[in-house]
């Protein structure tokens, strides 16, 4: 692992996306990307663990079923690997992909889907008696039918959130059987909760070929995830990244967009990650993500964009105190904004809770004001944020500390 494979774009398009290692130019360099000796664009490719799959470092997360033309265009452009799930849009996502690819040679693209067992406690990841081998196979049969394909390249156990879930014998049996039948080439699991433990479970299982994990530059536990990714890669497990854009926004109100190219490049700096599956819904995103395949180098601006304090400027109160004078109740608005920033900016809810107590705050102190007289020079809508964050006073500090 850790090996980058570069290939001229003209050379890889559609001929075969499997087992092409011999035809590829290998390099371990991260710099000097984006061109070869003839200044033609090159696509960075990496091998997926111990499988025979090599992929461009950016793939296509199929988010919506209403734009088949976008998927077709992406395929024609050079995206090779498409990611869907049994449950997306109640199956219409898979159905759309089936229509797009029905007349395309099967060896010219790769596809992964995911199945989620029945009877799972979503909070704890505990499996009930309804989580059977049969139900997994039944769902997969339906997925293949929708996809109009005889096999998928990767089948994931979807949204694995506990070790018990990851290693459930009846689920592994189902996957083993599907693989034996040739209807699934490689088996994997996807996780965006409790990722380090889940990746460890995959390592311990001696079963999974691939892990699809959430990983991005904002995660407080990103270091722990990366450590497990390195261990998994060492064991030959292929790693695919998702949720690389961290939801696309820095703030809850979705007003501070993430620099998506920078976020994607940040993830892919880790050579243990084979490819990523950002959700693509516009042609601009398709072009932008394709460009990342050719050049992983973060510009100075992109590096700056990924610095948390700077993008959080919209959450950050300068403490000018104008608001305190403007508030007809003379609330410590600047302190409440600080609590909001602790909560949403840094995830420090205990600190926010303590700050609220220090200011003797009550829940929704603005509730009896019909309008807000605060006119923040930074445009922060103080009343909304106060109503939101002041709810923390209802939660005991020991609970906040345990989170």
């Amino acid at each position: 692992m850790g090996k980058n494979l570069q290939v001229n774009r003209r050379g890889f398009l559609k001929s075969s996306v499997m087992g092409t290692a011999g035809a590829l130019i290998c390099t371990t360099a991260m710099g000097n990307q984006g061109s070869n000796a003839k200044n033609e664009p090159v696509i960075l490719r990496r091998r997926l663990g111990n499988t025979d799959i090599e992929l461009p470092i950016v793939s296509f997360g199929v988010m919506r079923s209403d734009n088949a033309a976008l998927v077709k265009s992406a395929f024609q452009m050079g995206f090779e690997f498409f990611d869907t799930a049994h449950g997306y849009q109640e199956g219409r996502n898979e159905t759309m992909l089936g229509e797009v690819f029905k007349d395309v040679p099967r060896s010219s693209f790769l596809l992964a889907t995911k199945v989620y067992p029945d009877d799972v406690n979503r909070q704890t990841g505990e499996l009930g008696p309804g989580s059977t081998k049969e139900s997994i196979i039944e769902k997969f049969d339906l997925s293949l039918k929708r996809l109009q394909m005889s096999y998928v390249d990767i089948l994931y156990l979807h949204g694995v959130s506990s070790r018990e879930f990851a290693l459930a014998p009846q689920l592994l049996d189902a996957f083993r059987e599907l693989k034996k039948q040739g209807r699934v080439r490689y088996v994997g699991m996807s996780t965006h909760h409790n990722e380090p433990d889940i990746i460890q479970a995959a390592i311990d299982s001696d079963f999974y070929n691939v892990v699809l994990t959430a990983i991005n530059f904002t995660q407080a536990h990103g270091g722990a995830i990366k450590e497990k990714i390195a261990l998994a890669a060492e064991k030959g497990i292929g790693i695919i990244a998702m949720k690389t854009m961290a939801g696309g926004f820095f703030d809850k109100e979705r007003t501070l967009p993430v620099n998506c190219s920078a976020a994607l490049k940040w993830v892919l700096q880790d050579k243990n990650i084979c490819t990523s599956i950002p959700g693509i819904v516009t042609y601009d995103q398709m072009n932008q993500n394709f460009a990342v395949m050719e050049n992983l180098e973060l510009t100075e601006k992109e590096k700056a964009d990924l610095e948390i304090p700077k993008p959080l400027a919209g959450l950050y109160c300068d403490g000018c105190m104008q608001c305190v004078r403007q508030c007809r109740k003379h609330l410590p608005v600047h302190e409440l904004m600080r609590a909001y920033m602790y909560t949403y900016g840094y995830g420090q809810v205990e600190k926010a809770g303590r700050l609220l107590r220090e200011t003797a705050m009550v829940t929704d102190p603005c509730g009896d004001c019909s309008d807000c007289t605060v006119d923040c020079p930074k445009g922060i809508r103080a009343a909304e944020r106060i109503a939101d964050v002041s709810r923390l006073v209802n939660v005991p500090l020991d609970i906040l500390a345990s989170l």
Binding site: N67, R92, K114, M242, G279, V281, T343, N394, L400, L403
Partner: protein, 276 residues
């Protein structure tokens, strides 16, 4: 983590709030304490959450009705507008499944009944070791619909689509990035099968905004700039093929997925005639 904290807050803050879930005689109703919002919906439905967010998802309330070993689970997805609720409902709707007369529109399959009620997209499903009876699922859906007391009906724009040749239950609403372009934003769509197969779309927006969309569209086309034939704009889109469009007041009406200009023009004019 933060969402978990606020779920606790909501629990305490809403302790006296009236439940969205009606009582049903003989069944025990248990409302899930956790309320999902746009920052944590993915924890429940994984990657499927992304499309819900594009449709102005607000929150999700869940309850279970149980009686011996039967459990009926109810999920109430609240969206910002009835249009958005219709959009996500229609994105997941299965036209082949039997329709049910509940809310504005609904359908059922084995152990599942999904319906649209105003700003709510409601999913009712059997979730226990024993399959709940279909009639009971329908009864729960009916009571919920009454309890939610939402206005009945689909978005008015859908009435502009001509009936002739329209595929059954093919109407939809795309909330963002229609045709893969961020400048188009939202559109109502329906599929047709007549002399040709095609998709008809209607974008409703202030006339100036429509003009701006068309300008941006034109700017994005490096070659094959739009050709105007009387009122009809014909665009050779490098990704979407031929796109035929006409604007009338606050509506932009168009046809895609066919090269048949005669048919496209005919259907666009049928819609245009209906616009007041």
């Amino acid at each position: 983590m933060i969402s978990a904290v606020f779920s606790l807050c909501l629990l305490q803050g809403n302790i006296n709030a009236e439940s969205l879930f009606p009582e049903i005689t003989g069944w025990k109703m248990q409302e899930e304490k956790r309320i999902y919002n746009n920052s944590d919906l993915w924890e429940l439905i994984n990657g499927a959450a992304d499309i819900f967010l594009t449709y102005g998802f607000q929150d999700l309330h869940i309850a279970e009705y149980s009686k011996s070993d039967q459990i009926i689970r109810v999920e109430l997805y609240r969206h910002s507008t009835p249009q958005n609720a219709f959009g996500i409902y229609s994105a997941e709707r299965m036209p082949d499944y039997p329709q049910v007369n509940v809310g504005s529109q609904g359908y059922k399959s084995e152990g599942v009944l999904n319906f649209l009620a105003g700003i709510y997209y409601v999913k009712v499903m059997s979730a226990g070791p024993a399959q709940a009876e279909e009639s009971m699922i329908a009864q729960v859906a009916g009571k919920l619909n009454s309890s939610l007391a939402q206005p009945v009906g689909l978005p008015d724009v859908l009435k502009l689509f001509p009936e002739e040749g329209k595929e059954y239950l093919s109407e939809g609403y795309i909330a963002q990035n229609f045709l893969g372009y961020s400048f188009f934003n939202s559109a109502y769509t329906a599929r047709y099968k007549s002399e040709a197969e095609f998709q008809l779309f209607i974008i409703q927006a202030p006339a100036d905004d429509i003009q701006q969309m068309l300008n941006e569209y034109s700017k994005s086309l490096k070659e094959n700039k739009p050709v105007k034939k009387t009122n009809l704009l014909v665009i050779k889109d490098p990704f979407n093929g031929s796109v035929f469009m006409e604007q009338k007041a606050n509506f932009l009406v168009g046809v895609i997925n066919t090269e048949n200009e005669v048919i496209a023009k005919e259907y666009i004019s049928r819609v245009i005639k209906k616009i007041p």
